[in-house]
């Protein structure tokens, strides 16, 4: 992972507090994310006046109103192109997109994949509560198949998008997953996202207490989380479990869940996590891992160095400026075919 920010604290959490009421429901996962973001920002070394939060529409998208930065609460699904326009105008800004599973996977799906394809250097915090919160409980494109919601009285019949899988389908350079109830994990992941050059997609498994309460409980439940999550760290073997004795290894070109100590498996047999692996196959496997066969992957699953759209763009601009003889409008107006009339 490239570090493009010096970790100098030039702002404090206080700088980002706004003071007004935070209007999410008590118990909404949003509160913890907000607090973590405020903790992370001072550590990124970004000037507080250079931070922009852009959002679409949804519960999640109220985020910019709760943090003291430049903020834009835009249209449902359109945070991504708005952020693209901001970055293509001023690459120095640190742009954060806060969005929901409906906002970015339903109406905003196209902008989501195009932003990722272009690899614009922004950070997407995707509040995946697997439901339309603000409109009160209709299913979203990430709602698990079969769920009964306000618009699926007989259970949904649609396959659920996996944000990580879609990110890879669009050639995403960074994907991470975290949960709202684990501030430490969130902090690590948000920081890595901020440091990544390119589009960072962070899926936050977020609890909507009102309309999809406990939808993530098989993953995040206190009793199961250690066995049902695997936190991935660069250069470390893929170990997880309450007893830290479970792991992932490759056998016959397939990934398998194994127990250390059983069948002769040792830690050395496990896959060592490489978020920069040029062969995407493992990342592809990791973003798709599901219960019950596998634990769900957490942390930075993928972080690939690649050209950033706005850098390439401004390189072209600089190059063109240098090469041209046409330096201003008057030059342009008089360039090429000009006819003189003597009247």
């Amino acid at each position: 992972m490239a570090h493009n920010f010096e970790p100098v604290a030039i702002s404090t959490k206080e700088d980002f507090k706004l003071g007004g009421p935070v209007k999410w429901c008590a118990g909404c996962g949003g509160h913890a994310v907000l607090s973590t973001v405020m903790n992370v920002l001072p550590e990124t070394g970004i000037d507080k006046d250079d931070v922009v939060f852009v959002s679409g529409i949804g519960c999640s998208s109220r985020f910019p109103y709760y943090i003291n930065t430049y903020g834009f609460h835009s249209l449902h699904g359109r945070a991504n192109p708005i952020a693209s326009g901001i970055k293509a105008s001023n690459p120095n800004l640190s742009v954060w997109i806060v969005t929901g599973d409906g906002d970015s996977m339903a109406i905003g799906g196209n902008h989501f994949i195009h932003l990722i394809r272009r690899n614009i250097n922004v950070n997407i915090l995707l509040f995946n509560n697997k439901i339309y919160g603000l409109t009160k409980g209709q299913y979203s494109p990430t709602t698990p198949k079969g769920s009964v919601t306000k618009t699926s009285p007989d259970g949904t019949i649609e396959n659920a998008f996996k944000p990580g899988e879609l990110t890879m389908g669009a050639q995403g350079t960074f994907f991470a997953r975290t949960v709202d109830s684990d501030p430490k994990m969130m902090k690590k992941v948000f920081k890595a996202a901020a440091e990544h050059k390119g589009t960072s997609v962070v899926e936050i498994l977020l609890n909507c207490v009102i309309f999809a309460n406990q939808v993530h409980k098989d993953i995040t439940g206190k009793d199961v989380r250690e066995d049902h999550q695997i936190f991935l760290e660069e250069g470390k073997p893929m170990i997880f479990g309450k007893d830290r004795n479970q792991g992932l290894m490759m056998r016959c070109n397939k990934m398998e869940k194994v127990t250390i100590g059983e069948n002769g498996v040792t830690e050395d047999d496990l896959i060592v996590h490489d978020p920069q692996d040029a062969d995407d196959s493992n990342h592809y496997r990791l973003v798709r891992m599901e219960l019950p066969e596998f634990p769900v992957a957490m942390g930075v699953i993928r972080a690939i160095d690649s050209t950033v759209f706005e850098s390439a763009l401004f390189d072209q601009v600089e190059h063109a400026r240098k090469e041209t003889k046409i330096k201003n409008m008057d030059d342009l107006l008089h360039s090429g075919n000009v006819f003189e009339s003597k009247g």
Binding site: G85, A88, F339, S341
Partner: protein, 616 residues
């Protein structure tokens, strides 16, 4: 080359080039236009092509045309009817017969006038022998054969040789209009800069055409069009789309801002995007978005970030942008939305012209969401109105919709090059860093604009968005009274623009029997018709509107001075309907045409005379 033939001096002449998409008629048309401009003629051009990329060869649907009107006097349209027609095949002839002046010269490529081609064109009889061309001066030239021969001799292969026939046509025309071949040669040298073999061959064919014309009898009469009088200085031949793009570039320079265009290709607006992609050397950023919505929303992002932000599209694309325009209205960010109108509804007639997006521009959004609407009225003044759109948008902090149309976009005319120092200043309401009095929705009492604080500026952090804003503070507000205040403020801000735009001008007498009213791209045709009528002693005047919302302050005052008002437009009466809603005290007669074609001078005159008759 000495000439021994009759030369007729003409004030103006209309030449139409027509052939298959592959015949190179657009190129010859441009070459002829440039040559005319070079010698100092005024001119106006209009290309006209099918919506398929290469429609089937030899069919009427596949005919691609280019019309150019040159003049010793000022010309303001490409002309209703042609004095000279070049028809490369029977389909080209068939498609254009109805646009020929009596006695016109018709140059045909006789090599393509055979039974096979007649059938393809849908002729049942041979048009060269069914008397339908009687009264015209028909020149039957073996264009294909002769040009191919010459080109092959010059070393081109068969495929390359086929493509030179347009230069044979050019040669013919140079002779016919007594033009210096040198200009044509230079054009080719520039065009094929990197391909000397092509230059050589094409020049040879050009000469061949010229010589051929000199030889044959049919062209014993040639024409001469003197340089236009009064027009002095430096000129360019500009299409509307290019002029629009340059107007935006000029405004960015004047405002001291970067230009950002977020756009998605769509006929007939694409060239604006294409032009801006070429202007990175001026710091302009063109963002080719994944769709129209991303086009406009990326521009809104850019506007938030302090750019002169624009988006360009045509009717169906404008429909897609409606929701986002509403966001720009609510956030009161500057944004120029260029809409190049085409034939609708839906995909409609995508390569044809129409003025049917006026209502959409005015009202195509949810809620009360007023924007400034202005319209260009000639290819060249697309520059001025694009500049003005940007100026109003920046200074009044509001989206502006600029309406152009297919006719302006693709048409061209000679344009006196302005000096940037003479263009008006543009002063966006920026905020000083750390201004402690800054509030996102505090307003300038004069214009009612809010102020523009840019992300990255120290001490001005704030949040905007699509929810209703509290007056002054810009916080989210659900307060009923505040909503009413804000709705009215947004409307008032736009209406106040009337204080900052010129009064409506009238061409012709200040009061008369008839006021012809037009708006936007029909200017050329209407002004020609009205001037003709005035010359004929009729009591007529013209008010062509560029400012639609708000209307100029003196609109009603003007209307009150005429007995009848005739609103002419290329739709079912949208401007007339709008005028009725704004100034219901007047009666508005209508002349409407919805054929994907521009207005013709002749039909306008007929209609005006009808109305004038009715007054007596």
């Amino acid at each position: 080359m000495a000439k021994n033939h009759r030369v007729i001096e003409l004030d103006e002449v209309v030449v139409k080039f027509a052939g298959d998409s592959g015949d190179g008629m657009q190129l010859t048309g441009n070459q002829f236009s440039d040559t005319s401009a070079f010698i100092g003629n005024d001119l106006s051009t209009f290309p006209d092509y099918p919506s398929e990329i290469r429609a089937p060869q030899g069919t009427v649907a596949g005919v691609s045309g280019f019309q150019v009107h040159i003049g010793h006097k000022e010309v303001s349209t490409p002309g209703d009817q042609a004095d000279v027609l070049v028809a490369m095949n029977p389909a080209a002839l068939k498609a254009n017969m109805k646009w020929l002046k009596d006695g016109a010269t018709v140059i045909i490529d006789i090599d393509n006038f055979d039974n096979k081609h007649y059938k393809k064109a849908g002729y049942t009889e041979d048009p060269l022998h069914d008397h339908s061309l009687e009264g015209y001066n028909v020149v039957k030239a073996p264009i294909s054969m002769l040009s191919r021969d010459v080109a092959l001799q010059q070393g081109l292969d068969n495929k390359g040789a086929e493509k030179t026939r347009n230069q044979f046509v050019a040669g013919l025309l140079y002779w016919l209009f007594n033009r210096d071949l040198k200009i044509g040669e230079d054009f080719l040298k520039e065009k094929f800069k990197t391909k000397p073999a092509l230059v050589k061959a094409n020049i040879a064919v050009l000469h061949e055409g010229y010589n051929y014309a000199e030889t044959i009898e049919a062209l014993s009469t040639t024409f001469h069009v003197d340089p236009v009088k009064g027009k002095k200085g430096l000129f360019r031949n500009m299409t509307g789309n290019q002029a629009t793009a340059w107007g935006l570039l000029a405004a960015a320079e004047k405002a001291g801002l970067g230009l950002f265009l977020g756009s998605y290709p769509i006929t007939p607006a694409t060239e604006i995007l294409q032009e801006i992609t070429k202007r990175k050397h001026l710091g302009a950023i063109a963002f080719q978005a994944e769709d129209e919505i991303a086009g406009i929303t990326s521009a809104i992002g850019a506007s938030f970030a302090g750019k002169l932000a624009c988006t360009s599209t045509s009717g169906p694309g404008l429909a897609l942008k409606g929701e986002a325009i509403g966001l720009a209205v609510m956030t009161e960010l500057p944004l120029v939305i260029v809409n190049v109108q085409r034939g609708g509804p839906s995909t409609g007639l995508p390569t044809k012209t129409e003025q049917s997006d006026l209502m959409q521009a005015l009202y195509g959004r949810s809620g009360e969401s007023p924007v400034i609407v202005i319209a260009s009225s000639s290819p060249a003044n697309c520059f001025d109105f694009a500049f003005q759109a940007a100026k109003l948008s920046l200074e009044h902090m509001t989206p502006v919709i600029l309406l152009s149309d297919s006719y302006l976009a693709n048409g061209s005319e000679l344009w006196p090059i302005p000096e940037m120092k003479n263009m008006p200043d543009i002063v966006p309401p920026l905020v000083a860093d750390n201004d402690e009095d800054y509030e996102p929705y505090k307003r300038d009492p004069g214009r009612l604009n809010r102020y523009w604080a840019i992300p990255g500026q120290p001490g001005l952090r704030h949040r905007i968005g699509g929810l209703e804003k509290a007056d002054v503070t810009g916080e989210v507000s659900h307060d009923p009274k505040n909503h009413e205040v804000m709705v009215k403020l947004r409307e008032a801000k736009v209406q106040k623009v009337a204080d900052f735009i010129p009064e409506q001008e009238v061409i012709g007498p200040e009061s008369a029997d008839l006021l012809v009213v037009g708006w936007g791209g029909t200017y050329g045709a209407i002004v020609s018709a009205v001037n003709d009528l005035i010359e004929e002693g009729k009591s007529v005047a013209l008010a062509q509107f560029n400012y639609i919302n708000p209307l100029p302050r003196n609109t009603a005052e003007i209307f009150s001075h005429y007995k009848k008002i005739l609103v002419c437009e290329l739709n079912l009466g949208q401007f007339a309907s709008y005028l009725r809603s704004k100034h219901p005290q007047f009666e508005y007669l209508q002349y409407n045409k919805i054929q994907g074609l521009p207005l013709f001078i002749s039909e306008l005159k007929v209609k005006c005379n009808e109305v004038l008759e009715s007054i007596k």
